[in-house]
């Protein structure tokens, strides 16, 4: 086992086209797939909140970073394993999500079309407040967690794959699978998808769409507990990290086609591979633009996404 100390992209910093080889391409694609699965884990909550129940949840990445900092506190104070800490904070985030949705619904959804504009501004403001509160509490320095699987890597053939990436990969895939099964097999899960398709019909059947939406938004926020743990396991976090993830999460959700869970996984892998390949060939300074360019391209060419309803 070899120690590694950097972030997500430690093996893929700019090498220029000159030394670009097939092995490097394969390596960057493998890294891209791992990275993509991680992106899927951080986006899947938004896929429910924005994709299924139409909440313009720009604060999603800010909630994600907030979760990462909660995990950091638990890990730093009591030495709790970051993934366990992520699971521990999910109930808290579930309640948080319910409160936020209830507030959003009462203030904006009920008031009709003009309110939608202000709903967007509302979430933007909330994201901003969370960011500043984190800065006031922790400063702008990067924070990271400690765990046995962080800082080591496996050597497979010629490649060095950090174990933290593999941990993130496994958790992300299980999370996506679990959520897909939940939405297709359980009663409540199907209700959530029904509310996405036709709210009025659901109301006629005697169900309360608002209760189901509240549950769905709570669930979407609860998932962020685990996603936030992955975020800080994969790389150190800083308060303004949410800005980069606005691009990544919305890119994934829009590319997937709103509300498609399996589509979310495919779209996330496409984004991960694109980022990884561009990073290998052009260098890290182009990284922030990739997700946003992909997002713009999807919006311009195929706004309904790859697997759109």
């Amino acid at each position: 086992m070899i120690n590694d100390s950097g972030g997500v992209f430690e093996t893929t910093t700019g090498r220029g086209w000159g030394v670009f080889s097939v092995e490097l391409l394969i390596e960057s694609i493998i890294f891209g797939v791992l990275l993509g699965c991680f992106y899927c884990a951080v986006s899947i909550g938004l896929s429910v909140a924005f994709g299924l129940i139409d909440v313009p949840h720009i604060a999603h990445p800010a909630f994600l970073v907030l979760a990462a900092y909660c995990v950091y506190i638990l890990n730093d104070t009591w030495g709790i394993d970051p993934l366990l800490a992520g699971v521990l904070i999910t109930p808290l985030f579930f309640l948080f999500g319910i409160v936020v949705y209830r507030l959003y619904h009462a203030m904006f959804e009920k008031r009709g079309s003009d309110a939608a504009v202000r709903g967007i501004a509302f979430f933007f403001g909330v994201a901003f407040i969370i960011e500043v509160l984190i800065i006031l509490q922790f400063g702008v320095d990067q924070r990271s967690v400690t765990a046995p699987y962080i800082g080591k890597s496996w050597r497979i053939l010629e490649m060095r794959i950090p174990i933290r990436q593999i941990v993130a990969f496994v958790v992300a895939v299980s999370l996506t699978l679990a959520l897909t099964l939940y939405l297709s097999r359980t009663f409540t899960g199907r209700a959530i998808r029904a509310v996405a398709q036709d709210e009025g019909a659901l109301r006629l059947l005697g169900a309360d769409p608002i209760r189901i939406k509240t549950w769905a938004f709570g669930l979407a926020t609860a998932i962020l507990g685990i996603a936030g743990a992955l975020l800080i396991v994969v790389a150190p976090v800083e308060p303004t990290l949410d800005r980069a993830y606005i691009g990544r999460t919305f890119c994934v959700v829009v590319m997937a086609g709103l509300g498609s869970m399996s589509g979310t996984l495919v779209a996330a892998i496409i984004l991960g591979v694109a980022e990884s390949v561009v990073l290998t060939s052009f260098g890290a300074s182009w990284a922030p633009a990739i997700s946003f360019s992909l997002l713009l391209a999807v919006l311009a060419v195929r706004p309904q996404g790859l697997f759109g309803r």
Binding site: D114, V117, F122, V126, I129, L133, A289, F292, S293, L296
Partner: protein
């Protein structure tokens, strides 16, 4: 209407004259250093209102246009040693062109999609500037001020007056749009785009026009910034804080009237300057976020709405 126009023109001239006069009466530079920032926010907020308020398209890309203004100036100053007025004029043209391009690409999108697309544009342009070595790249670039021009004692005081003139231009433009067919068309498409289109309002054309004008004004607001700071760096020029500020000041002041963003920018700008000096710059950013959330929840029509509610409810 005519009498109103005369009164407005008179008020505008009085405002610029007063701004110019104080630069000779007050010796200390600091009030102008702080005042410049407030004036800059007025331009940004008024420009934001033209698209975001009248047409209801929530633009998160104010920092994109501001940053483009900043870097147009940097490029012109470095390549040709262009004077300030040329920098501002070209920046406005570039900002208008960018507004046209962004509008074509994004204005067919609705609601949240448009908003996200404008953030995307900001980050993409930011990334290009970071990778453009000629204008300093990620590390930023030092800008040397030309010698101060004749009537003014210092460069900052001159920039203060220049920004005051930009405020007048922005407010006059917004006021003209609001009272003209353009403004009525924009308001119609904000309330119901489909209905507006059906009644013969050329919605896409009007939205594009609003986007071009708004973009040009925002870029113009950013153009004097390199000379003001004597420095330009992408992290600061494309700071998302400009987007939040423009949006928050406009929504807090009220978006139905040009006076709204002016009030919002003055109120928040002054408070922010005070907080930055007395507490910390993080505190003023926090205030911005909290005020934004409080106002969109509790006073949807902003400060203006608190006063003119009765009047606006009478007109259908």
């Amino acid at each position: 209407m005519r009498g109103n126009d005369v009164a407005f023109a008179f008020g505008a001239m009085l405002f610029v004259a007063a701004a110019a006069l104080t630069t000779f009466l007050v010796g200390n530079e600091y009030p102008f250093f702080a005042g410049y920032v407030i004036l800059q926010y007025i331009v940004l907020a008024v420009a934001w209102t033209i698209l975001g308020g009248y047409a209801g398209y929530v633009n998160f890309g104010a920092s994109a246009f501001f940053g483009v203004g900043v870097y147009t100036s940097v490029f012109l100053a470095k390549a040709f040693g262009a004077p300030l007025l040329v920098q501002i004029a070209v920046a406005a043209a570039v900002g208008g062109f960018l507004g046209f391009a962004v509008g074509l690409l994004t204005l067919r999108m609705k609601g949240i999609f448009f908003s996200i697309a404008t953030i995307a544009v900001t980050i993409i342009i930011d990334t290009f500037i970071v990778n453009w070595k000629y204008v300093g790249g990620a590390a930023g670039i030092q800008v040397v001020r030309p010698p101060t021009m004749a009537p003014f004692e210092s460069y900052v005081k001159m920039l203060f007056v220049v920004q005051a003139i930009l405020v007048v231009i922005a407010v006059a433009t917004a006021r003209y749009i609001q009272n003209s067919r353009i403004g009525r068309g924009l308001q119609a498409l904000r309330d119901d785009e489909l209905a507006a289109e059906c009644s013969g309002v050329p919605t896409l054309k009007l939205k594009l026009l609003a986007c071009v004008i708004s973009g040009a004004l925002m870029a113009a607001a950013g153009a004097p910034s390199p000379m003001y700071l004597q420095y330009a760096i992408p992290v600061a020029a494309f700071d998302l804080n400009y987007s939040v500020s423009a949006l928050a000041m406009s929504l807090i002041g009220g978006t139905s009237h040009w006076l709204g963003p002016v009030l919002g920018a003055v109120l928040l700008g002054v408070t922010q300057q005070w907080l930055t000096v007395n507490i910390s710059s993080a505190a003023n950013v926090l205030l911005l976020g909290v005020m934004l959330v409080v106002f969109v929840v509790a006073a949807p029509r902003g400060i203006i709405g608190l006063f003119v509610r009765k009047k606006s409810e009478k007109t259908p």
